[in-house]
Point group: C2
Amino acid sequence: MTAADTSRPRLKIRRVNLDTGRENVVVISRRSMALRPENFRAFSRVELRRDARVLLATLLITDDDSMVGPGEIGLSDPAFRRFAEPAGGLVTVTPAAPPDSLDSVRAKILGRTLKAAEIKAIVGDLTHFRYSDMEIAAFLMSFASFMTSDELLALTQAMARAGTQLTWDRPVVVDKHCIGGIPGNRTSMIVVPIVAAHGMMIPKTSSRAITSPAGTADTMEVLARVDLGIDEMKDVVNACHGCLVWGGHVNLSPADDVLISVERPLGIDTREQMVASIMSKKLAAGSTHLLIDLPVGPAAKLTNATEAMRLRKLFEFVGDHFGIAVEVVMTDGSQPIGNGIGPVLEAQDVMAVLGNEPGAPADLREKSLRLAAHLLEYDPALRGGAGYARARELLDSGAALVQMRRIIQAQGAAAGHAAPGPLTADIEAAQDGVVAGIDCLRLNRLARSAGAPLDKGAGIKVLKKIGDFVQQGEPLYRIHAADLSGFNLAVAMTKLGTGYLIESRAAKRGRPRP
Amino acid sequence: MTAADTSRPRLKIRRVNLDTGRENVVVISRRSMALRPENFRAFSRVELRRDARVLLATLLITDDDSMVGPGEIGLSDPAFRRFAEPAGGLVTVTPAAPPDSLDSVRAKILGRTLKAAEIKAIVGDLTHFRYSDMEIAAFLMSFASFMTSDELLALTQAMARAGTQLTWDRPVVVDKHCIGGIPGNRTSMIVVPIVAAHGMMIPKTSSRAITSPAGTADTMEVLARVDLGIDEMKDVVNACHGCLVWGGHVNLSPADDVLISVERPLGIDTREQMVASIMSKKLAAGSTHLLIDLPVGPAAKLTNATEAMRLRKLFEFVGDHFGIAVEVVMTDGSQPIGNGIGPVLEAQDVMAVLGNEPGAPADLREKSLRLAAHLLEYDPALRGGAGYARARELLDSGAALVQMRRIIQAQGAAAGHAAPGPLTADIEAAQDGVVAGIDCLRLNRLARSAGAPLDKGAGIKVLKKIGDFVQQGEPLYRIHAADLSGFNLAVAMTKLGTGYLIESRAAKRGRPRP
């Protein structure tokens, strides 16, 4: 292709105001000096080159010279940002050959097991945004049908090594991770200050909500800045033993971020892929001891103990291979943990527990203490079995609250005071009875419709939990919103189903009326 | 989602001058009245709705009000064309749920065999452009790993019924199809006039080149209009017994067109998918008797007889099930058929054969006669074994040429006279010897680089074939181009390899020097 490069006209870079998400997109004129329709078609892939710099992008074509003229190439976000050349710079454009590693993906779908080097090449191309969406989907599908143990290990390792790799000057660096799906459940924000108050190192990165009403990063952001870079994160951890930052700026396992962006819309979520994703991030973060929380419940990601056990074994297998001490606990995933759903309401729960306030949700406190206890047991200086008592001591004494305030200050305290959304509606029980079930998925959707996580104050305050007695007309939960259209939408949705199953006290085995 | 629709603001349609290929793309403002970042992200999928009209599209976001303002939604081609609502019309926009049939795709990748109804639902969603590229890729990969016989039949039938279905008032309607890959090889343009001259019905649709230097549609276009609609096509066939039109306007098996657009860039080309693709188009075209040409050769799609045999059995199996009489012939795919590569040069070959000109390529004539003979044998009135003689009679007598002229007139003769590209370069043998091999793939690439199929006159005139003696300096082939950059590119490429293997006469078993 050397001949092709020299004989091709060069195009002048122009910035086009289009946000194209993760995908690199460029625009050229149909009368472009570089366009030959036999080589270029809209939505095909092209390669931009300037000196040693190369970018693969998806092509759009325009007839509008005011957008992009015949001698120009329009780079939309994020192509402009990633290519990092100024407007006016000259580039050559050629049709992009698909990444070589796609051959391995094709071989995989036809039943061949891939070698570690092939998987490393795929992950390298994913990390450098060389795969289009359709190619990412092809990779995910090829691995979703089956993945051998060796492939799982190779994938985990390649992903862990593709981005930033942290090392800490400590023999014990702990971490915790929950596979998600349960509303509320903001245990990390209580576990981290307890463990850090004990003096153990816990450099926690978290995600933002993608399909849920709040991620730990969204909730922590109510209290402090979370978009720290890698050096800032290290400073906070060195000063406070722990942190609660967003993973998006620290570039741990960047291939995972690329995969997730296609996995979610496709709804492909295999056990192996999940384990590779989580373990690659923990390996890159330099963790030595890891606690995994697997909630099990009818509307959770895991619906029974057998599934949870299989997942546990996978985590243990990968952890053992890479020398990370992995402990997996199965927890109750039948209903929300805590009372708040949505960033502000969840942050209030967290601070109430840390502050030992009378109304603090007991379930969130208890679960956090149990998880912290597991992590504290990794301290060789602590007597076996003393973890729970130590965790409670650190919480009850206020030491965990003090530590949380230190972390907040070190990350940068949030300006102002975020309050729950001012528009509220109480959703009432339609009959007397006992709460027999809560549909977590439905409450998540309601909270999102109300505006969470963008409207930090939007969400749901849960007033009744499973086993509670309710009278007809008594509120089950309260919807909070800041914006009328979200409020109306959420309230309208409750008419189609509150998400609560209430069984009559007289006939506990009666027909469910959700 | 009824509640969502009524409470959402409506946006005003605006046309945005962006060609996005097959994919529906819309642009909205970051400050849009309808945009909620928790629901909308760039490159996510949205659903546009106006009354009963619905369109799924991929979303881009802009901050540039001059492109799309906060109260507007920009529809790029082909979204604007497909939604078919005027600029200024009001639409609601909601995040699009993935098509329901994607559940079946996920089940398939996990090993479940799909039922006919599930496959029909997938094909329906594909046909209506409800699948994004990544979703199409997921479908293709799920079927590439394995496809049962029942799934293959169900897929073929669903695809055949998804678009136009032709019926002809004749007991015998013949067709031929070549799986492609061989340069030149324009047999359809000779077979159709021979068979039509005999009075048999042969309504042939062909594709344009996607990765090759010319498709039959591109070559026929040198002589006549090929972009006929379905009614025009019927008129031509009723008047002339046959036609040679582009398949793109007649909407036979539209799902296949969608699948091919992702299959090609991904390079996934399984036997089953190929059979479903071809047979669905022939079923929809109303063919009763079908001849399949499978070229076998070192640089062809099929490299050995075993592969070809497996493919033959699949064609026969599907044909038998749907009551189409399928005959499969394996042909020599070791070198180009005819002398021309590229639309004008190939059209010259075709007309030379039909005109019985002295310099007409004998291999193209012979192969066309053999294929036509197979089809003519389907005429019950013809004595068994008389097909070849009848084909030669129709060709030698000039009846086939007369029939071709009728077809050209009926489709609409091309204005003017297309000539081979005026820039020429003869590529010479580097040594004395015998032509021992020709790399079809390389000649295809050279012809494309020279400008084919867009520059109709661009391409290659083959001067030596396998078995020919050549002297050092004697031309092997001639490059034709209309445009200097394509010409230079093609000539430069020959320096890296001519595509010809010449063996010394003295040492026929010497080392290959391609």
